[in-house]
């Protein structure tokens, strides 16, 4: 259990690195994280905008900020974080941003040295993704969509938002 927690932390560290990159002009391979041990991280970060309105650069040359974490600039695109060396191997994540909000989190690289690692990844990666998406949906008060039937409601985002405020 402890190992899972640490692994998850290191994955989050990769995300944090990613955001540090976006909000400051930190260069590739920054080692601000206590968990990221390596000076390797040479892969750098990249941001690819799909929306011409967001006015971002791309590539790993730094300074391609899309604004602060508020995301009010409404940028859209994908960003791939630096490869972060952890005790268990390299970790790299990719986020998809739409309208300044994270809409997906995927891992590009995870340690896969042995079967145990794979088990942990299978467990931790979906949690990370869910956490990131839940944090985004917390910023929505309600959902407008094609008529939700009573059956479909149970699995809907609206039901999750309602549940958070029922008491």
């Amino acid at each position: 259990m402890r190992r899972i927690t640490i692994w998850l932390l290191s994955t989050v560290a990769a995300l944090v690195l990613l955001f540090s990159y976006k909000t400051s002009t930190m260069g590739a391979g920054g080692d601000t994280s206590a968990i990221a041990s390596g000076s390797d991280g040479s892969a750098g970060s990249s941001w690819t905008a799909t929306d011409d309105g967001s006015g971002t650069g791309s590539g790993s040359s730094g300074g391609s900020s899309t604004g602060s974490s508020g995301g009010s600039s409404g940028g859209s695109g994908t960003a791939t974080g630096s490869v972060t060396q952890t005790r268990w191997g390299p970790v790299q994540v990719k986020i998809t941003v739409s309208g300044g909000k994270i809409t997906d989190v995927t891992t590009v690289q995870v340690p896969d040295g042995n079967r145990r690692d794979q088990e942990i990844n299978d467990y931790a990666v979906p949690i990370l993704r869910q956490e990131a998406l839940a944090a985004q949906s917390a910023q929505i008060d309600t959902v407008s969509g094609a008529t939700v039937t009573s059956d479909g409601y149970r699995e809907s985002l609206q039901s999750a938002i309602d549940a958070a405020h029922l008491r």
Binding site: G99, S144, S159
Partner: protein, 269 residues
């Protein structure tokens, strides 16, 4: 009272008219019994309207009519009002919303105002809450949303569901007042009838309309789905209303006045 803290927020959910209806209130007295009673009055009124208008209930007023148009001289005032609103909707949509010859749950075709009754009934029932001083309202009836906000409070953030992937949002619009209504094929398949052909409309996957009144936002969204290919041009002519449309091929477009952030660049281009 500490004005810097976020106002308390509370939600109520009920299944009415075959739909999940959720009421969210923000304000100082959301825990008070008097407020909860007002919310109950909203649900009770929606149940009462369903008992009158449901075409799925053989014992309802509409069920007993079996598709015949109610006689305006003898009909109950609420029924008369809905018939009049349906006529107005037909005129406002150039005939693309037409309640007169729709497929009925029991088979055959006839008068079915269901496409208008939801928005009309929700807007009517919401009066029990809109005059609650110091409180903000976000009422969501099966994906159609009615909003009210006290001056000085933040607007509500309404996520617009991606019809291809309902767990994701196409866009988010911030609205203090008015309505956001979505019609489409995402959840129930092609259930909106093209009044010109009598067949299910399939060219448009989803239309979201934002504007001052829920009844009209909902009617316009439904009419736009029925209309199909040229729906966006028509939606752009509606005074005070803005729209976001996803066609059957997944292409997303918006009217120039669309308030969301995501498509501003694309809508202009």
């Amino acid at each position: 009272m500490n004005l810097t803290t976020e106002p308390d927020r509370r939600a109520w959910v009920a299944q009415v008219m075959g739909l999940p209806v959720s009421v969210h209130l923000r304000g100082p007295e959301v825990r008070a019994d008097a407020v909860a009673e007002r919310v109950e009055r909203v649900f009770a009124e929606l149940r009462a309207m369903d008992a009158v208008f449901s075409t799925y209930r053989p014992e309802s007023v509409l069920g007993r009519l079996g598709g015949a148009l109610p006689d305006p001289t003898t009909a109950d005032p609420v029924v008369r009002e809905v018939v009049e609103r349906c006529e107005e909707a037909r005129a406002r949509t150039g005939g693309w919303f037409d309640a007169r010859r729709l497929p009925l749950p029991g088979g055959g075709t006839g008068f079915d105002p269901s496409g208008l009754v939801k928005g009309w009934a929700v807007e009517r029932a919401a009066r029990h809450l809109v005059d609650l001083p110091g409180h903000d309202l976000c009422l969501n009836a099966g994906g159609d949303v009615l909003l009210r906000t006290t001056p000085g409070r933040p607007a509500w953030r309404v996520g617009i569901e991606d019809p291809a992937r309902p767990e994701r949002m196409l866009d988010v619009v911030e609205r203090a007042h008015g309505a956001v209504a979505t019609s489409g094929t995402a959840r129930r398949g092609a259930h909106i009838t093209d009044p010109r052909t009598g067949r299910p409309a399939e060219a448009v996957r989803s239309v979201t309309v934002v504007g001052p009144e829920l009844l009209w936002a909902d009617v316009y969204a439904t009419a736009a789905v029925a209309r199909g290919a040229d729906a966006l041009d028509w939606l752009a002519t509606l005074d005070g209303y803005a729209a976001l449309l996803v066609d059957a091929g997944g292409r997303v477009r918006a009217t120039p006045n669309w308030p969301g952030s995501r498509l501003a660049a694309q809508a202009a281009g």
